[in-house]
Symmetry: C2
Subunit: 96 residues, 2 copies
Protein backbone atom coordinates (compact mmCIF):
# COMPACT_ATOMS: atom_id res chain seq x y z
CA UNK A 1 0.00 0.00 0.00
CA UNK A 2 1.59 3.24 -1.10
CA UNK A 3 1.63 6.48 0.84
CA UNK A 4 -0.92 8.45 -1.17
CA UNK A 5 -3.40 5.61 -1.01
CA UNK A 6 -2.90 5.51 2.75
CA UNK A 7 -3.62 9.23 3.03
CA UNK A 8 -6.85 8.84 1.12
CA UNK A 9 -8.07 5.82 3.06
CA UNK A 10 -7.02 7.28 6.40
CA UNK A 11 -9.08 10.40 5.73
CA UNK A 12 -12.20 8.25 5.35
CA UNK A 13 -11.41 6.20 8.46
CA UNK A 14 -10.79 9.39 10.39
CA UNK A 15 -14.29 10.56 9.52
CA UNK A 16 -15.58 7.42 11.25
CA UNK A 17 -13.36 8.03 14.26
CA UNK A 18 -15.93 10.00 16.18
CA UNK A 19 -18.89 8.48 18.03
CA UNK A 20 -21.30 11.14 16.82
CA UNK A 21 -20.38 10.66 13.17
CA UNK A 22 -20.53 6.90 13.53
CA UNK A 23 -24.05 7.11 14.92
CA UNK A 24 -25.04 9.60 12.23
CA UNK A 25 -23.81 7.30 9.50
CA UNK A 26 -25.51 4.35 11.14
CA UNK A 27 -28.80 6.23 11.31
CA UNK A 28 -28.49 7.34 7.70
CA UNK A 29 -27.45 3.98 6.27
CA UNK A 30 -29.95 1.90 8.19
CA UNK A 31 -32.89 3.99 7.13
CA UNK A 32 -35.54 2.35 5.02
CA UNK A 33 -35.56 4.19 1.72
CA UNK A 34 -31.97 5.29 2.26
CA UNK A 35 -32.74 8.89 3.07
CA UNK A 36 -32.99 10.78 6.32
CA UNK A 37 -33.98 14.35 6.98
CA UNK A 38 -31.57 16.37 9.11
CA UNK A 39 -34.55 17.30 11.23
CA UNK A 40 -34.63 13.68 12.40
CA UNK A 41 -30.92 13.46 13.07
CA UNK A 42 -30.38 16.60 15.13
CA UNK A 43 -32.74 15.84 18.04
CA UNK A 44 -31.20 12.37 18.48
CA UNK A 45 -28.12 13.92 20.05
CA UNK A 46 -27.47 16.08 23.08
CA UNK A 47 -25.55 18.54 20.94
CA UNK A 48 -26.19 21.94 19.44
CA UNK A 49 -27.50 22.11 15.90
CA UNK A 50 -24.32 23.62 14.40
CA UNK A 51 -22.31 20.75 15.83
CA UNK A 52 -24.43 18.16 14.05
CA UNK A 53 -24.23 20.18 10.86
CA UNK A 54 -20.45 20.25 11.21
CA UNK A 55 -20.26 16.46 11.60
CA UNK A 56 -22.50 15.94 8.59
CA UNK A 57 -20.21 18.17 6.59
CA UNK A 58 -17.20 16.05 7.53
CA UNK A 59 -19.02 12.87 6.53
CA UNK A 60 -19.84 14.53 3.21
CA UNK A 61 -16.25 15.64 2.63
CA UNK A 62 -15.08 12.10 3.35
CA UNK A 63 -17.35 10.82 0.58
CA UNK A 64 -19.38 8.71 2.98
CA UNK A 65 -22.69 10.50 2.48
CA UNK A 66 -24.27 13.00 0.17
CA UNK A 67 -27.25 15.30 0.55
CA UNK A 68 -29.86 17.24 -1.31
CA UNK A 69 -32.17 20.06 -0.35
CA UNK A 70 -35.85 19.48 -1.05
CA UNK A 71 -37.91 22.44 -0.07
CA UNK A 72 -37.30 23.35 3.54
CA UNK A 73 -35.52 20.16 4.45
CA UNK A 74 -32.19 18.57 3.61
CA UNK A 75 -31.97 14.82 3.10
CA UNK A 76 -28.87 12.69 3.54
CA UNK A 77 -28.04 9.24 2.20
CA UNK A 78 -25.02 6.92 2.41
CA UNK A 79 -22.56 6.33 -0.45
CA UNK A 80 -21.76 2.59 -0.55
CA UNK A 81 -18.70 2.98 -2.78
CA UNK A 82 -16.56 4.54 -0.07
CA UNK A 83 -17.85 2.15 2.57
CA UNK A 84 -16.90 -0.71 0.27
CA UNK A 85 -13.36 0.56 -0.12
CA UNK A 86 -12.92 0.70 3.64
CA UNK A 87 -14.39 -2.75 4.09
CA UNK A 88 -12.05 -3.99 1.36
CA UNK A 89 -9.02 -2.77 3.24
CA UNK A 90 -10.16 -4.47 6.43
CA UNK A 91 -10.94 -7.69 4.61
CA UNK A 92 -7.47 -7.69 3.09
CA UNK A 93 -5.93 -7.11 6.50
CA UNK A 94 -7.88 -9.97 8.08
CA UNK A 95 -7.21 -12.49 5.33
CA UNK A 96 -3.53 -11.80 5.02
Amino acid sequence: MDASQAVELAAAFKALGDPVRLRLLSMIASREGGEVCVCELTPAFDLAQPTISHHLKLLRQAGLVDCERRGTWVYYWALPATLDRLAGFLRAAVNA
Copy 2:
Protein backbone atom coordinates in the same frame (compact mmCIF):
# COMPACT_ATOMS: atom_id res chain seq x y z
CA MET B 1 -26.57 1.43 17.61
CA ASP B 2 -26.32 2.79 21.12
CA ALA B 3 -23.96 5.50 22.31
CA SER B 4 -21.48 3.36 24.25
CA GLN B 5 -21.09 0.97 21.35
CA ALA B 6 -20.44 3.97 19.10
CA VAL B 7 -17.72 5.23 21.44
CA GLU B 8 -16.00 1.87 21.38
CA LEU B 9 -16.15 1.41 17.61
CA ALA B 10 -15.17 5.01 16.94
CA ALA B 11 -12.04 4.58 19.03
CA ALA B 12 -10.93 1.74 16.77
CA PHE B 13 -11.76 3.64 13.59
CA LYS B 14 -9.90 6.64 14.94
CA ALA B 15 -6.78 4.52 15.28
CA LEU B 16 -7.03 3.85 11.54
CA GLY B 17 -7.53 7.53 10.80
CA ASP B 18 -3.86 8.27 10.26
CA PRO B 19 -1.88 7.36 7.15
CA VAL B 20 1.13 6.20 9.14
CA ARG B 21 -0.91 3.86 11.30
CA LEU B 22 -2.79 2.55 8.30
CA ARG B 23 0.47 1.67 6.55
CA LEU B 24 1.85 0.15 9.74
CA LEU B 25 -1.20 -2.08 10.10
CA SER B 26 -1.02 -3.00 6.46
CA MET B 27 2.63 -3.95 6.76
CA ILE B 28 1.96 -5.98 9.90
CA ALA B 29 -1.14 -7.77 8.63
CA SER B 30 0.21 -8.59 5.20
CA ARG B 31 3.35 -10.19 6.52
CA GLU B 32 3.92 -13.84 5.84
CA GLY B 33 3.97 -15.54 9.24
CA GLY B 34 1.93 -12.73 10.72
CA GLU B 35 4.75 -11.13 12.65
CA VAL B 36 6.94 -8.14 11.95
CA CYS B 37 9.90 -6.80 13.87
CA VAL B 38 9.77 -3.10 14.73
CA CYS B 39 13.23 -2.83 13.24
CA GLU B 40 11.62 -3.49 9.83
CA LEU B 41 8.81 -1.00 10.34
CA THR B 42 10.73 2.04 11.52
CA PRO B 43 12.99 2.54 8.49
CA ALA B 44 9.99 2.35 6.13
CA PHE B 45 8.93 5.84 7.20
CA ASP B 46 10.51 9.24 7.10
CA LEU B 47 9.76 9.74 10.76
CA ALA B 48 11.72 9.64 13.99
CA GLN B 49 11.79 6.38 15.90
CA PRO B 50 9.71 7.66 18.88
CA THR B 51 6.97 8.70 16.47
CA ILE B 52 6.66 5.18 15.07
CA SER B 53 6.70 3.79 18.58
CA HIS B 54 3.89 6.17 19.49
CA HIS B 55 1.75 5.06 16.55
CA LEU B 56 2.32 1.41 17.38
CA LYS B 57 1.17 2.12 20.90
CA LEU B 58 -2.07 3.63 19.64
CA LEU B 59 -2.69 0.62 17.41
CA ARG B 60 -2.11 -1.59 20.43
CA GLN B 61 -4.46 0.42 22.65
CA ALA B 62 -7.12 0.18 19.96
CA GLY B 63 -6.88 -3.62 20.08
CA LEU B 64 -5.76 -3.81 16.46
CA VAL B 65 -2.34 -5.32 17.11
CA ASP B 66 -0.39 -6.91 19.90
CA CYS B 67 3.32 -7.37 20.48
CA GLU B 68 5.90 -9.43 22.31
CA ARG B 69 9.55 -8.90 23.10
CA ARG B 70 11.87 -11.69 22.02
CA GLY B 71 15.41 -10.95 22.98
CA THR B 72 16.52 -7.63 21.62
CA TRP B 73 13.62 -7.26 19.23
CA VAL B 74 9.88 -6.61 19.56
CA TYR B 75 7.47 -8.35 17.18
CA TYR B 76 3.99 -7.14 16.26
CA TRP B 77 1.03 -9.00 14.80
CA ALA B 78 -2.54 -8.07 13.87
CA LEU B 79 -5.61 -9.01 15.90
CA PRO B 80 -8.33 -10.13 13.48
CA ALA B 81 -11.15 -9.92 16.02
CA THR B 82 -11.15 -6.12 16.12
CA LEU B 83 -10.70 -5.86 12.35
CA ASP B 84 -13.72 -8.15 11.96
CA ARG B 85 -15.87 -5.96 14.16
CA LEU B 86 -15.04 -2.90 12.09
CA ALA B 87 -15.66 -4.76 8.85
CA GLY B 88 -18.96 -5.94 10.30
CA PHE B 89 -20.10 -2.40 10.93
CA LEU B 90 -19.23 -1.35 7.40
CA ARG B 91 -20.93 -4.39 5.92
CA ALA B 92 -24.10 -3.59 7.86
CA ALA B 93 -23.98 0.01 6.64
CA VAL B 94 -23.57 -1.04 3.02
CA ASN B 95 -26.30 -3.67 3.05
CA ALA B 96 -28.86 -1.58 4.84
